[in-house]
């Protein structure tokens, strides 16, 4: 490949949790001299796979013998069912409302409308639209669930020294954190039913970066369902636990004037389903000042990865 050396390859990259931890894996390879530039890649063909019934995001769940034996025969399948039950429980524990859940979908759609690359760019969604949509699996309606698309996304990482003369402004990795859920994909049995492992992933990432949640200018989280975005906003410390609903309904997530502009490209709910590698790309654009729905004076951007487990990636505008 023209480097004059063997190609360094790792299977630790990709999307979801790995989109947040890939920079720390890359940093090790860069520090060891095993690589000079590292590309993190994620590609998905589940849009086609779903249409042709050849592959789907539920494949990993269907492959789990416990799910095949104790969940599927009982009708518990697939992810929209699991996460609708989490949403229902969150509503019970914290008073979260359907409208508050809907605000995550509506805000993301508003951001997608301002982002030409978003799959749902030309499909606005109002709160009335949301509340008028039929239930898919109560309390979820279709807009609570992410897109299923084909797509691919990549980003390049290198040392600050090598990046110094790159053509575009540099974005620095300031902090990385990760955490696991001991129940893995078996979300039904996770003890903390209405939380994500961001509880353990975000604090060390923020500490490494030397920032507090209130310093963050833009947030992008892995959002397969509205409730997963809502829980991560809480679990990363941007509001009190249980207040992720009111936080959104008060306009907190809005790119225009919100205290925490959230999934400013539309997220998985409205931009694309490439396991949130496009979320990291969006943060890079925000920090370079080239996003379609640009946050003014953006200096700190954070990615929240999820499932199974969690990761937190703190990025900052290069100095």
């Amino acid at each position: 490949v023209g480097t004059g050396r063997d190609l360094w390859v790792s299977t630790a990259g990709g999307g979801s949790v790995a989109a947040g931890t890939a920079p720390s894996v890359a940093a090790e390879a860069l520090a060891a001299g095993a690589a000079r530039y590292v590309v993190n890649v994620c590609s998905i063909t589940w849009g086609t796979g779903r249409a042709e019934s050849t592959s789907s995001p539920a494949d990993a769940h269907r492959a789990d013998p416990a799910k095949r034996s104790f969940e599927m025969p009982l009708g518990w399948y697939p992810q929209p069912v699991y996460f609708a039950a989490i949403a229902r429980r969150h509503m019970h524990e914290f008073g979260t409302t359907l409208e508050q859940l809907g605000q995550y979908a509506v805000t993301c759609r508003q951001h997608a409308v301002r982002t030409p690359s978003a799959v749902l760019h030309d499909r606005p969604l109002t709160m009335d639209d949301y509340l008028g949509a039929p239930y898919l699996v109560d309390p979820f309606r279709a807009p609570d669930c992410c897109l299923i698309t084909d797509g691919a996304c990549a980003f390049v990482m290198t040392t600050p020294e090598r990046a110094a003369d790159a053509p575009n402004p540099v974005v620095e990795v300031a902090g990385v954190g990760s955490a696991v859920a001991d129940t893995g994909l078996q979300v039904l049995q996770q003890r903390a039913f209405t939380s994500t492992p961001q509880v353990y992933s975000a604090p060390p990432a923020f500490a490494m970066a030397g920032v507090r949640p209130s310093d963050v200018d833009v947030l992008a989280v892995y959002d397969p369902f509205t409730i997963v975005g809502l829980m991560q906003v809480e679990d990363m410390g941007f509001c009190e636990k249980g207040m992720g609903g009111p936080f959104a309904l008060d306009g907190g997530l809005d790119v225009d004037g919100g205290v925490l502009p959230y999934n400013t490209h539309g997220g998985m709910l409205a931009h694309a389903y490439v396991l949130a590698t496009d979320h990291v790309l969006e943060l890079v654009r925000q920090l370079r000042g080239t996003a379609d729905a640009q946050v003014d004076g953006c200096e700190i951007g954070v990615y929240g990865g999820y499932g199974p487990g969690a990761s937190t990636l703190v990025l900052q505008r290069g100095r």
Binding site: G47, T48, R50, A51, S53, T54, S56, A58, R62, P65, A66, R68, S69, F70, E71, M72, P73, L74, G75, W76, Y77, P78, P80, V81, A84, A85, I86, R88, R89, H92, S117, V119, L120, P134, Y135, L136, V137, D138, P139, A142, C145, L147, I148, T149, D150, G151, A152, C153, D182, Q186, L188, Q189, R191, F193, H271, A272, Y273, V274, D278, L281
Partner: protein, 172 residues
């Protein structure tokens, strides 16, 4: 980034291996234990013989203490309603004739952190106001029939205990 948008409500039902007839994997001894209990109208799960924690889902060693000796036992079949949903779209061909159906998540009486899901055939999707999280529920049993046809199995389902005046649970 490029994408092929698919509208969930217009999507065809995803079809694939095991989705017409999602019977348990009875080549797996743990699944055999559970489903042979169900055949006798009993809810059975393994318990650690050292720390006495229920180990669910089954695994070779206790998740709480690491002990490798587990013993299956018959549980009360009682618990409380932890969460619920109404499935209105058939996410697999097997469930085409079931929808819409109410599903409950039960927290077991023996360990509130262990959960069992089940259809709630006595709670019609139009009367979900009957469902109050925290209220007593119990396991009942009925024939397991998918849209593709009957299986030879029974299935655990969930029932509201208070509404049915029945606190006897799983029986045995």
């Amino acid at each position: 980034v490029s994408g092929v948008p698919t509208e969930p409500s217009r999507r065809a039902v995803f079809d694939g291996p095991g989705l017409h007839d999602p019977v348990p994997d009875l080549t797996w001894p743990e699944a055999r234990e559970f489903w042979s209990g169900v055949a006798q109208h009993a809810l059975r799960m393994p318990r650690c013989t050292a720390c006495e924690a229920l180990v669910w889902y089954p695994r070779p060693t206790c998740a709480a203490c690491g002990h490798s000796e587990l013993a299956w036992e018959t549980l009360s079949g009682r618990g409380t309603l932890f969460s619920w949903v109404v499935v209105r779209r058939a996410f697999a061909p097997a469930f085409a004739d079931w929808v819409p159906f109410t599903m409950g998540v039960m927290s077991l009486e023996e360990d509130a952190g262990v959960r069992l899901v089940g259809r709630m055939p006595a709670v019609h999707p139009d009367e979900v106001e009957l469902l109050e999280i925290g209220s007593p529920v119990h396991v009942a049993f009925e024939d397991l029939t998918f849209s593709g046809g009957a299986s030879s199995l029974f299935s655990p389902v969930l029932a509201l205990s208070a509404e049915q005046g029945d606190e006897t649970g799983a029986g045995g």
